[in-house]
Structures are given as structure tokens and as C-alpha cells.
Amino acid sequence: MRYGETGFNLEIDLSRGGIERVETDPEETALYLGGLGTNAKLLWDRVPPEVTPFSPENLLIFSAGLLCGTPAIGCNRTIVTTISPQTDLMAFSMMGGFWAPELKHAGYDKLILRGKSPELVYIWIHDSKVEFRDAAHLRGKGSVETTALIQQELNDPMARVAAIGLAGENRVYYASIEHDRSSASRGGIGAVMGDKGVKAIAVRGTGDINIARPAEYMQLCNEVLEYIEFRNANPIKGVMTIMQGLGSPQEMLIQDEKWHTENFMWGNSRVRRNDFWNEDIEKSWTATLDNYRTRLISCYNCPMKCGATIDIPGLPTFMMKCFTKLTYTMAAYSDLDFGMRIAQRATEYGVDGFTAPQVMAMALELLEKGILTKDQFPGMPEDSEGRFYWLLDRIVRREGIGDVLANGTYWAAKAIGTEADPFAHNCIKKHEQLPLKLSMLNPIYFLMYSTGEKLNITQIEGQFPQAPFPEREQREEFVKDWFQVPDDRFKQYFLDWNPRGENSMPFYPTVDMCCDIVDWQEKMHYIDDALGMCAGLSAFPLKPPYHIHNYPKFITAGAGIEMDEDKLSQAAKRYRTLVRANNIRRGMRREDEKPPANHWKKRFPELEKQLLDAYYRFKGWNEDGIPTVESLRELGLHYVADEFVSRGILAEEKTAGSSTAADASSRAAQSVE
């Protein structure tokens, strides 16, 4: 019997209409855990770098995490993996909600789509019954609308639906996949779904998920439950409100947006409005949120209420979470009322709430500078809000200038001409980032921005405070019950970290400490993404209920895979390296690994070089960011090493004989027993 996972994938060939239930290899689970880990392996095995995002050979994988659907609180993530049209790299956007547990109950760990459907279809997975259904009548429908129509058509309000809107159908490079209160937004995975001719996937399952050691597992779950209660009752002192609690940032709850509106950038991520927030604005925005927000809501099996149903008079109801609350508002220099209204339309269209507003703000900036001309915007209204609606409508339909803008700021600027390049200034690896511009280089963040492959800072940061606390007593207070650290040395790093003077940024934390801190933070995200855990209860907030000390126990008791901290760290390193291997094979190199040039005002090129050099060494990568043959073999990734050598990405190892591929693989096999 398989525990935690179901042991089966559902493979669908859209071109030929083939449907297959395929048993998976438990050895692969032991090596790569599940979710992102096994997705990375599938992509490596089956999607060579010659495959382009919109070719039929590209896979679109919807994976539940290893522990999704078990009583582990907050373990509900669907990890969607494909080749991104925007970055041409591996995208692994994720969504919460209810979809992944339902897929597990239906009897599958992953849904793997390949090929392209000749007609627009939706897929209905009901336990062992899997159907293609005609979706011609859903063409052009919004994602929320589509969900309701499918549930009605199937006469099953419990069917969980992941759908694309018009943006996905028209292959907008930043199209999202929307599901219930969640969305998998980054990397344009909705465009790949649209390209494959799949409007939606509905799933309903009524099977069991088995637990290897029930009593131990429940004990662990109860400890998490109790710790969540403790953390909810004891917000962390000394950090801003939004960092004090668990969950993803409580944007649907909090009214005080002084920090975001005065520290994040407006427009095309350029303008900081230091004295924006005042009493009148607070009053008006509070009224807006109070009037539109019906209820705070959660994902599957999670007590945190990070989302909300939003009911704006005259508009269809939709669900919202996190920072989309302000991205449109700030890009358009408008107010919260506008931001929430346009978010409703954007959710139906299915676009990424970070990228879409930046693209529109860039277009208006280019128009203002005369790089784009008025005749390219025929009939566009004069007011900022009207212009955003006008642009959004054209982008998702790829009409006129919208066709260019539909490819994101990087590709749009390339198409418009070299004078447009400086306006696509907020990308890393061709992907738009948070609208944030700061003063002093933060060496930890420098490494995270540079080397992160999820391309979203929130998906690599967490655990370690973002900034030093002013007083030593506050730091001592903070580290007192900081048991989540992998080792006590992290406490010392933090204790000695001063806001200014000695031991302050950018030279403290030291290069070595930064490597250590970044590696820890990233590792926790990668573990979440394999298990299907929401980062909001784990890698993202300070002092979370899930950490490196209880995760191995969860895996042992839940999935029946003997695990300890070292083995888990090694597994996470294995599939983290495999994610990188996929991207290296697609051409990513050191030159791609840099934050936006204007992210910090005060830069330190020499220090930055030292940081990157040291971090690459720390990770077992060469000076170009490529995992070395030696480190690959140590992780049991000899097949990657072989392919790197045969493709000429790496040279043959000079000191042959010291370790052979066979040795390495037997070592890896031992390490996962």
C-alpha cells in the first residue's frame, strides 16, 4: 500500500484522446518526494530543451503534494509545472484552494497533460471515470463564470474546478489558472493550458488517503494545531503588523496600508509616494473594503483566513487574496475602489495580478514618452482608470497594441524597439517582480533575487527577519523561542546584526552567513512545494508551525518514508538542483541571475560578485551557476551529469576514477533507504 500519495498519475494525451492511469515508482518518491520534486524529474525526463512552451510536447503537470489531503493542516497546494512562455524556463506556479486534495481522493497524485486538443474541451475527473467534454459554449467565458457553469452542468457543486479565462485561451504570456479562492498565476501557465485547448479541469474524488503511522501522525498534526493557536494569540513583536502572524499577508483583513502605499512603488514601479497615507484615505479605503468584503475565507483544511469573497454591487462576486488588492490601484495611481473593481474583471480574464498592472503602466509610460503613439491606442479613454480597463480588455483579446503587451514587459519592449527596453526595468529572468525599489543593498535579498528560480521573492524569503531589530534586548527576546532554526548559529547571526555601524548591511551578515541563511530559507520553500504545504504556514512567515525539525517526522509517519533532517535536506537539495538542471539545459546562466539594476540605489559590485561566487560554491555549482559533475553525482543525479557532458554544458571530469556514476548512484540509493 502507498501512504500519503496514491501511487498513480493520470496521463492524458490531448492530441489522441488517450487516458491512462499509470502507477508510479515509490523509489522516485523517496528520492524526489512528490509535488515539485517529482514534477522536476518528469520535466527532465520528458521535456528536452528543444521543446518550446507552445509545442505539443510541452507537458502541463498538475501535481498534488506528497501530503496533500492528509490531515496535515494547510497541506492543499497544487503545483503546476510546465515550460513558461514568458521565461522559456521551468515554471512551477502553485495554487491553494481545494483542487489537490480532491485529485488525491479521486485516486491520482498528478494529472499530466501532453499534446493539444483539436477542440476546446474541459476534463471531468470523477474518481476512476475521466471524460473529455466539449467546451465550445465556455469559450470566452470568465474563469469564475466557467466554474459555476461546469458545476451546474455536472450537477455537482462539490466538483473542484481549475479554469482559464480569456487570457489563457488567447495565450497571454501571463495568463493564470484560477481555482476557487486561489490562482496559479506566475509564469504564464494559463497560456499553456489554453494552447493545449483545455478550458478547465473539474475533479471530484471519494477515495481514501492512507497514513502510514496514524497515531504518530495525529500527534504531529495536533502539535501544529496547538502551535497555530499559540501563534495566533502571540503575534511577533518588533516587526510590522503584516509580518507578525501566520498565513500569507493578511491583505483581506488589514485596513492600514500605510506601509505598502508608501514603501512600494506606484505606476510602472518607479514612483514612491512618501506622504501618501492620511486619515481621509484610510477612512475611504476602509469603507471600500468593509463594503465589498463579504467574508474572510480559507483554503482546504486551514484555519488561516487569507482570502475573501468580494461582492461589489453591480458586479459578479469573486474571491480575492493577498497583494492583488493593491497592484492595480498603485499601477494606475488610483484608489482601492478601482483596484478591487478591476481585479474582478482581471480574475475572470485570468491574468497574473503582479504582471498585468505593470504591463499596462509601462504601456502608458511609453505613450507619455512618445515611444508608443496615440494612434496605437484608438478610442482609449483619458482617465487613468478608464485606460487600464481599455488596455486590459485589449490585452486579453490580443487586439492591436494589446497583442504586443500580452507578452509581458520584457517581450513587449523587445518588440517595440530598443528605446523601450529601459521601461521593462523590473524583471528578473524576463519576469516582472514586486514593485519595490530600495536604498541599501541587502546581501541576503541580493542572493535570493539573483538565484531564485520561482521568480517571486515571496516564494524564497521567510524564516529569517527581513531587517535587524534596533535593540539587542529585542533580538534576545526574539531568539528565545526561535526553535525553528536548523542550528543555533542562526540565532547568533541575528543577535549580532545591527541596523547601522558595526555588523550592519551590506557587509553583515557576512558572505558565508548569507549563503547559510538563503539556503535555509530556500530549502523550506522547496520542501513545502514537494509536500504541498502552503508557505503561509511554513516557509514564508517567521516562526511557523512547520519547520525542518518536524517535517521529517511528518514524512515518516505520513508517507512511510524513513526520514531525518539530513536526508530531507539532501532530498530537497536533489530536486532543487534538478529544477536548476532543467533551466541550465534550457540556457539559463550566471548572466541571467541578477536583480533589476535599479532595485537598490546603493550597489556594491565587488561584494555582489563575492556573494554570488560563494553561494554558487556553497550550492555545488560552478562559477557560471551550473551544478558540477561532482555535486550532481553526490545527489544521485548522475544522469544529469551525463547529459550535461554529452551536450557540452560541462566538460568531462578531469580526475576520472575517483567516483564513477555507478558509485554515486549506489550511494544515493543508500541515502534514501
Binding site: 489531503g69 492528509t70 490531515p71 493542516i73 481545494f98 481522493h105 469564475v144 459555476a148 457543486p157 476557487d180 479562492r181 474524488g205 471519494t206 477515495g207 481514501d208 488517503i209 492512507n210 497514513i211 496514524p214 497515531a215 501522525y217 495525529m218 494545531l225 497555530i228 493557536e229 495566533n232 463579504t294 467574508r295 474572510l296 475565507i297 480559507s298 483554503c299 482546504y300 483544511n301 486551514c302 484555519p303 483566513k305 469573497t309 461582492d311 459578479p316 462576486t317 469573486f318 474571491m319
Partner: protein, 199 residues
Amino acid sequence: MPEKKKKIVTRIVKSIHVDVDKCNGCRACEVICSALHARPKKYSSNNPARSRIRVIRQPLDDIYVPVFAGEYVKGECYGRNKYTINGKVYNDCAFCRSPCPSRDDFMEPDSGLPLSCDMCESEPDLEKPLCVRWCLAEALIYEEREEAVPEKVEQGKLELGLEFLANEFGMDKLLDSVARMMQKDEKVNREGTGHLSTH
């Protein structure tokens, strides 16, 4: 009517107060209920389809209603309730807690046997039902109250029922019915079918 002296005893009445305004729709109650009642061993599996509570969740209509499985009823109901909530009519059995032959809710997916909430009495060590413990939104509130009741006398229940019928239809009609039933009874007994019909 002179009250007969009856011995008064106290009993504990357990109930779960559902505050639908606080439900966040997370379904943790379903997860943990199905885990606790898993077979062959508690917590050995989980599956909301086997849960004795389910959350009716229609987020776009702001409907979040946890419903506990009640007693099995053998037949389909005559009339079905309709609820209008925010302008939408719910005319199926959406909010009904009884497993019954006409629908799949609260039935074991494998055996088809009805499920009913036992307030986790199978786990005497639990302070309160597990769904309540896991509902940090506090939409499920466990309530225990002591009720002073006359010591249970078999006749008591019958008399209560008769009193209700007498109030509803009048004592004369009630007596008429009893008389008719007695005649029928005699007839049936004479014919020896052994089948008693009250219709």
C-alpha cells in the same frame, strides 16, 4: 390534574451549536471526522466522503453551512424544504441531515450504509467532538447542558405524545381514533394477517 410525584434526575445533553457566520469553509471538520472514524484503525486514512459532517459551501452566494449527519430515515420525505438565501432558491435536500434512500449524502461510499454523528462518543477521552476542536474559526461550538428531567418512565413519552395529539385535534377526535384503531386491530387479529395498518 394532580401531578404525580416523580423522581427528578439530571442528564447531560450534548449539542453542537453551528455559527454559520463564522465558518470559513475550510472543511477541516470533514477531514478530522473521517480520520477519527477511519477503519481498521483510527486516523489510518481520511476521506471527507465518509465524514459525518459536511460543509455546504457556495462561496459566491456566501453560504457556509456545516451539517451533521442525523438519524437514518427509511423513506423519502413528502415535501421538500425550500430555502431562499440571497435570492437563490435551494430546493433540494441541501441542508437536510438525514441519510435517506433518495440521496447519497451521509452514506459510506463503499457499503452504502448510513452515517450518523455520534459526538465522538467512541472516543471517551476527548473533551469535545474533534470537529469542534479543529474548528479554529469557532463556527462549531460544543455545548453541554444538564437537564433536570423526570426519571424516564416508559409511559411518560407516550403520554407526552398523546397530550400533543389531544391539543392538536381535541380529546374527542383522539378517542374516536383510538376506538377505530381498536376495532381494526380486532379485525386484523381475526383475519390473522398480523399486519397492522394505521392508514
